[in-house]
Amino acid sequence: MSHPANPPGFLLANLDKVRHWAQTRSMFTVTFGLACCAIEMMATGAGHYDLARFGMEVFRASPRQADLMIVAGRVSQKMAPVLRQVYDQMPEPKWVISMGACASTGGMFNNYALVQGVDQIVPVDIYIPGCPPGPQSLMHGILTLHDKIMSGEIAH
């Protein structure tokens, strides 16, 4: 620690970096399990895959205490207003991951009942492909989101 800009005993960093670090290291997720993908999301949080390694095992039931919404599953026309309301209730800064083919594009159900892509109702940061995406894919998506926040690519 003998760099001239870092005198011993002090830790200097860019304020933005500190903020990003704090934002990514303990992200709270609002439970928004909708369909098959939600089971994979639960499996990711449970013992075998252990999302707690990334400080994310707490799934918040209340949107007011969450900063990440993982839309896991198919969004029906009846659910769409509810989803938007939950999103509106989350405090800033907030991020959205669209998990699975259905949430991203409607998947194989291109019909009257489903919203063809959740990005029509809320802004989406990360899309995870797959039907269902395995826990590994979900973790990859989450880590990608962390990277993007750290690098300042997704600014809120």
Binding site: Q77, K78, G106, N110, N111, Y112, A113, Q116
Partner: protein
């Protein structure tokens, strides 16, 4: 003689059935003149006019069909003249029997009697049939939409409703002029 023995052994192995199966069904069918009794893929089906639905269902329940397994509608659209068909699947646990009732319903007269009074379990099924096909069940206590939002217009499972699909667009595809 050997044949008899074989039959007996088989009867012991398979679960006991009230034989003959048909007696239960015949008891129901004989009460009504207008029932047509057919075998469809080896399953017993009664075809009946829609006004009789409630009476036949009541008679079937009295004959030992405890459970309404399913109630749904088929839309034949142009394939058949009374366009809709109400399909009720009944299950008798004591006789190990299934019975299917089919009642044609024309599109300009979609009133059918509700069977909620006989089987309370028909509640959700009739609401679903109303929601998706637009059949109106007389005497249902709470005939509202169940799967679609309240303000939805139309009955999506009718053949003339359309799929409602959105054409898929790719980002860099050529614009269709």
């Amino acid at each position: 003689m050997t044949d008899d023995q074989v039959v007996e052994v088989q009867e012991e192995e398979t679960p006991p059935r009230t034989l003959p199966d048909q007696a239960v069904l015949r008891a129901v069918a004989e009460q009504f003149d207008d029932i047509e009794w057919i075998l469809s893929s080896g399953q017993d089906v009664f075809i009946l006019p829609k006004d009789l639905v409630l009476d036949v269902v009541q008679a079937a329940k009295d004959a030992g069909f405890e459970l309404l397994a399913d109630l749904t509608v088929t839309d034949y659209f142009r394939g058949r003249s009374p366009r809709f068909e109400l399909v009720i699947n009944l299950l008798s646990m004591q006789h190990r029997l299934r019975l299917r009732l089919r009642a044609p319903v024309p599109v300009d007269d979609v009133q059918v009697p509700s069977v909620v009074g006989v089987y309370p379990g028909a509640n959700f099924y009739e609401r679903e049939a109303f929601d998706l096909f637009g059949l109106v069940f007389d005497g249902h206590p709470d005939l509202t939409r169940i799967l679609m939002p309240d303000e939805w217009e139309g009955h999506p499972l009718r053949k003339d409703f359309g799929m409602g699909s959105v054409p898929v667009q790719f980002k860099d595809s050529h614009q269709v002029q």
